[in-house]
Amino acid sequence: MFTPNDQMRLARAYVPFQIFSKRLDPMEGLLKGTIFPELYFPYRGHKR
């Protein structure tokens, strides 16, 4: 489970800030929909 730190309060939603680190090359980024590998979450399909 996610543990809150002292910067956080209840009844509030948090999305961590993205820190710039790696970058894909532009063509690969275009094909994937993002140049940031840490934001790439492809759809694998639902098992039903």
Partner: protein
């Protein structure tokens, strides 16, 4: 002000015409979680955002959603291309044909016309950014159901691109939310 580039943000290819798939896909044109709703929502809400970052993110993403609207329009058009009346009737688009021929119109998959009631502009930036994040998740889920419904690898390639953009947008709205919440917190104590 906008500058128009006469090209699509991402190629919009289809393997074959498929009227049934056009009927499903049109919800991303004029449905409740579609690209028109997304674009209009963000471009309207941006005026009451309290920080320049939040205004900028809503402007940028609202603009990109217009580019997605154009991709969806192209895909639906290609899926309907040269469809016979028999195919149109078989796909349940006879009533659509009566109103629109093969032209594009802002409807969901059931033919319900787009309405501003799909979107909100609450005036409370925290409430509105939450709506925007939810909108991105709903659009992502819609793309996943559409990919499930489609057996066309070319079409799915474009749908996967658009789905990934929703994830990136969610991240950006989440960052905007943190900025806005921190701004409102500091404002409160001075």
């Amino acid at each position: 002000m906008w500058i128009y580039e006469k090209k699509l943000q991402y190629p919009a290819k289809v393997g074959r015409a498929n009227v049934q798939m056009a009927k499903y896909l049109i919800t991303q044109y004029g449905g409740p979680d579609g690209e028109l709703a997304a674009s209009m929502r963000y471009l309207t809400q941006r005026y009451h955002m309290p920080t320049p970052q939040a205004k900028g993110i809503l402007t940028d993403i609202g603009t990109e959603e217009l580019a997605h609207l154009e991709i969806i329009a192209t895909l639906v058009y290609k899926l309907m291309d040269r469809a016979s009346l028999e195919e149109i009737k078989a796909a349940g688009l006879g009533a659509y044909y009566a109103d629109h021929d093969r032209a594009l119109y802002f409807v969901n998959g059931e033919g319900v016309p787009w309405t501003a009631a799909y979107i909100q502009s609450k005036g409370d930036p925290v409430a509105d950014l939450h709506e925007d994040m939810a909108a991105e998740e709903k659009a992502r889920a819609t793309y996943e159901w559409l990919i499930d419904l489609s057996d066309d690898p070319d079409l799915n390639d474009t749908l996967k691109f658009l789905r990934e953009r929703e994830i990136v947008h969610f991240q950006r709205f989440g960052e905007a939310l943190q900025i806005v919440q921190e701004y409102l917190d500091t404002k409160k104590y001075f």
